[in-house]
Subunit: 195 residues, 2 copies
Amino acid sequence: MSKTIEFYFDVGSPASYLAWSQLPAIAERTGASLVYKPMLLGGVFMATGNSSPATVPAKGAYSRIDMQRYANRYGVTLNQNPFFPINTLQLMRAVTAYQDTPKFEPLLTAIFNAMWISELNMGEPAVIGKVLVEAGFDPEEVMAKASDPAVKEQLKRATEEAIGRGIFGAPTCFVDGEMFFGQDRLDWIEAAARS
Amino acid sequence: MSKTIEFYFDVGSPASYLAWSQLPAIAERTGASLVYKPMLLGGVFMATGNSSPATVPAKGAYSRIDMQRYANRYGVTLNQNPFFPINTLQLMRAVTAYQDTPKFEPLLTAIFNAMWISELNMGEPAVIGKVLVEAGFDPEEVMAKASDPAVKEQLKRATEEAIGRGIFGAPTCFVDGEMFFGQDRLDWIEAAARS
């Protein structure tokens, strides 16, 4: 019986970007299904009392080196976004609006790449608009969907669900109820998805 | 040319215990020299603004599961010490006092095992005394050495040196200037020690 990998993420998290870059291949290798679970990391931090490693300068500095090592191991580009941390509320609402649609993956790809390869200020509506147009989206349509009260409520509930499951940071994956925090647990996730 | 693994640790850190259980074998496999660097984790936390994962309840709960997974992978016993967190000032002074002596490794082994296998309250002088006797030490002699002003100063300087090198938590290893934080970076440490 094939397993399910639930992937809780926020596009403002470089570790989420790294995990996102590898999880589809892990799902393919293991035959597991990959379920994307957008959540608002700021909400998770607020509810749990956790904070970004970047709030401790020495930890933030090391964390950048550490993530770069993993990016090199994975063979993906990771650039340090100079506008980090970026408020991702609008972006995560947009991502939520397109969940379970064929446009979800192109949208997520455009946002993650803009954030962690092109180092754009994705907290700025004009910048977001440009990225969306280049990815073949109509920015007005995306932003209208993102402002839908049902979508706002959906992201809020998803974030509350994440907190209820014991999540305190991003990325976090569940494989059949087993929780794995961090992009540095992909080997454990792959083993759990395979077993 | 053989490399050096510098191992910064505090006996009050379960992740330090896990790294300590594996590093001698890594040094042997890679031909690297292992240099023990006792430091006071409480001092590191205070200076850097960092704190134990246990201060965020959801993170502490996950961290216990995560470390147990690694303990199982390594084939070592790790028990959750009910007295955690324990003030390790006296213990780390004692460990510092025996650095570069033949009694260093037996002392460290006795303390780490008392803390993370036997789950003893190693903040209590009477408990420490019993553990020392069982390990073949004279507790009065150990405590006299630990109270030597030169030893106190040595631990203080070692902790300041650690902070100066960018350390924010334990365990942290350096392999030829490259820093690796966490017992979950042993594969990276082994690769760096071998290269």
